[in-house]
Amino acid sequence: MDLEIVLSIIIGMVFINNFVLSKFLGLCPFLGVSRQIKPAASMGLAVIFVMTLSGFITWFVYRFILVPLNLVYLRTIVFILVIASFVQLVEMIILKKSPPLYRALGIYLPLITTNCAVLGVTVLNINTFFVNGKPLPDSFALSLLQSFFAGIGFTLALLLMSGIRERLDLVDVPKALSGIPIAFIIASLMSLAFMGFNGFHF
């Protein structure tokens, strides 16, 4: 595997093509769970975990079930079902094995099913690492890498945002802009800052 490709995926997913700030995936949790740092961190961890494992599972499903059976057009239905049932499973396992972790992550897990970043990364993996149903070399490892670092990028954006919003509570914001509108404007400035990474080349 080329170090160059690996690096460009890592930097690309975390900074240049950050899922939230430049691709607009996963905005609902980004705005909904970013009021305080602690829940934001829990949500971020849950997303990294679910994203990586969803990337893992959907690669196998696509490669060994959908492509051989010529059912590629069922991709969307199958992926969302896989993700939904996987999230359900994780929720049950965590509830049984580690109640404290469940209290920290529990309420965020169901939300992740409808987080478009998760479905987005699985579809993106298939679009980038398969050509006409045939996997490119190292496609499995690269899919996993891409899913994991997309999650890292999401968490980074979420943490930065929640840090800013915690301080924002103390500031006098124009009444009409307080709440959601000011959050959008801050996100816009953050996205502007992240555009600075655009010049990176390997």
């Binding site: 700030l21 430049s22 691709k23 607009f24 995936l25 996963g26 905005l27 609902c28 705005l31 057009y73 069922l74 991709r75 969307t76 239905i77 969302i80 079902l81 939904a84 049932s85 099913t113 409808t114 987080n115 478009c116 479905l119 987005g120 579809v123 993106l124 679009n127 124009p174 009444k175 009409a176 802009l177 307080s178 709440g179 959601i180 509108p181 000011i182 959050a183 959008f184 404007i185 996100a187 816009s188 400035l189 996205s191 502007l192 555009m195």
Partner: protein
């Protein structure tokens, strides 16, 4: 008869302004921002989402008494994902250029919170006709919101609307068709609506 008409106006009308999914309830943001680069894309996305919304509302309302309560969410997801797949295939066949431009956001209609929100919040509790009207209204509201954002961004970002040049007096503000412009436009629009309606969420 008058009751029926009043009901129709109520269910249809609420999605357009008073409960506008994007501006007021703040749902379905990811496509609203990502796709609103140009009015053409926004209209295409609005139509696709409206089709899915109306069909899934209709079907879900039809099966609401058959589906056991505990597994209703997975059932809704399957219904929605099936309609999204239909749209995906239709769009790839009849509007390939649009499908290419919308890209990953066509399969991502599945996780558009508006559709799931209406299925869970309205269609699963109401009869078929109100559900269809609700879907139509919400779809239209979504399309209108998308178009508003798109018109502002396309006009300021490239001086064009639907590809026709409106003005070329000064160099267009390219930032508006990039990611930060989308967030800024939506934040300002929601702020403006808060100002007009005198509503403040906090």
């Amino acid at each position: 008869m008058r009751n029926l008409r009043a009901l129709a106006v109520k269910e249809f009308g609420k999605g357009i302004f008073r409960e506008n999914p994007v501006f007021v309830i703040v749902l379905g943001l990811c496509p609203a921002l990502a796709v609103s680069v140009s009015l053409e894309n926004a209209l295409g996305m609005g139509l696709a989402a409206s089709f899915v919304l109306v069909s899934s509302n209709c079907l879900i309302s039809g099966i609401r008494n058959i589906v056991p309560n505990r597994i209703r969410i997975p059932c809704f997801i399957v219904v929605i994902a099936s309609f999204v797949t239909i749209v995906e295939l239709l769009m790839a066949a009849f509007a390939p250029r649009l499908a290419e431009q919308l890209g990953i956001f066509v399969p991502l209609i599945v996780v558009n919170c508006i559709i799931m929100g209406r299925a869970e919040g309205f269609a699963s509790k109401n009869r078929i006709l109100p559900s269809i009207l609700d879907g139509l209204g919400m779809g239209l509201g979504f399309t209108l919101a998308l178009s508003t954002v798109a018109i502002i961004r396309e006009l300021l970002g490239s001086g064009k609307i639907l590809g026709f040049t409106i003005f070329e007096v000064y160099p267009p503000a390219t930032i508006m068709i990039l990611a930060p412009g989308a967030l800024l436009t939506l934040g300002m629009l929601i702020g403006l609506i808060n100002l007009i309606t005198g509503k403040n969420k906090r």
